[in-house]
Subunit: 125 residues, 2 copies
């Protein structure tokens, strides 16, 4: 019987709940479109229309991905007549993206074209 270590039963499970929520939060960020939406939104509120135009995405895609972020409580929606303006609920989300960018900048992935794009992003602040 090799390697007999297994999962013990009946532990508190409370310690496992929080990581599950954190994971769910990160999963909301785990999509290129949602990253782009957030990077646009951290610079200020935008309507769906504005996001469509700025990111060249079709309408259902924008609404659908915003819904994911909204359900996770990351963004908030407020009606303005026919439009809906989305905002990031916590400025710390911007800081989170910034830390992520710094991690990339340090060592992860370094395709040449990608690296150039990264540096451009750094210059923009």
């Amino acid at each position: 019987m090799p390697t007999p270590r297994g999962r013990r039963a009946g532990e508190p499970a409370a310690a496992a709940e929080l990581p599950a929520f954190k994971a769910q939060f990160f999963r909301a960020l785990a999509h290129p479109t949602r990253i782009r939406l957030l990077e646009a939104l951290v610079r200020g509120g935008r309507t769906v229309q504005e996001l469509q135009d700025a990111l060249t995405l079709d309408q259902p895609t924008v609404s659908q991905q915003l819904a994911v972020l909204r359900h996770q409580g990351i963004v908030a929606a407020q009606k303005e007549g026919l439009s809906v303006r989305y905002t990031v609920r916590d400025p710390l989300v911007g800081e989170l993206l910034e830390v992520a960018r710094r991690i990339f900048n340090n060592h992860l992935v370094t395709t040449s074209g990608l690296l150039r794009e990264l540096q451009r992003e750094v210059r923009r602040g």
Copy 2:
């Protein structure tokens, strides 16, 4: 023909590459087990065995999830005889988790039991 805005063709695509990599990075964090592994690892290197015991997980699960983090370049593995010691490659990952924790602490999710767990985690620093 309502809402005729669609995706324009032939744009640089460079602007879309970086978010894709960022998304991939966040996806590596988007799993309860991987969060727990990282939270253990940011406090210092651990062998697979130690992680198994500390988190009460079976061996294939630990190795498999560590492999995800390793392939993403988030952790590094070094052999020590029969064991393999894993370490977080960038201290900024710890900062990232910390920012995420603060975001939770601010307003996201507030199940009572969960809230208690959160505050306990804050006290631990």
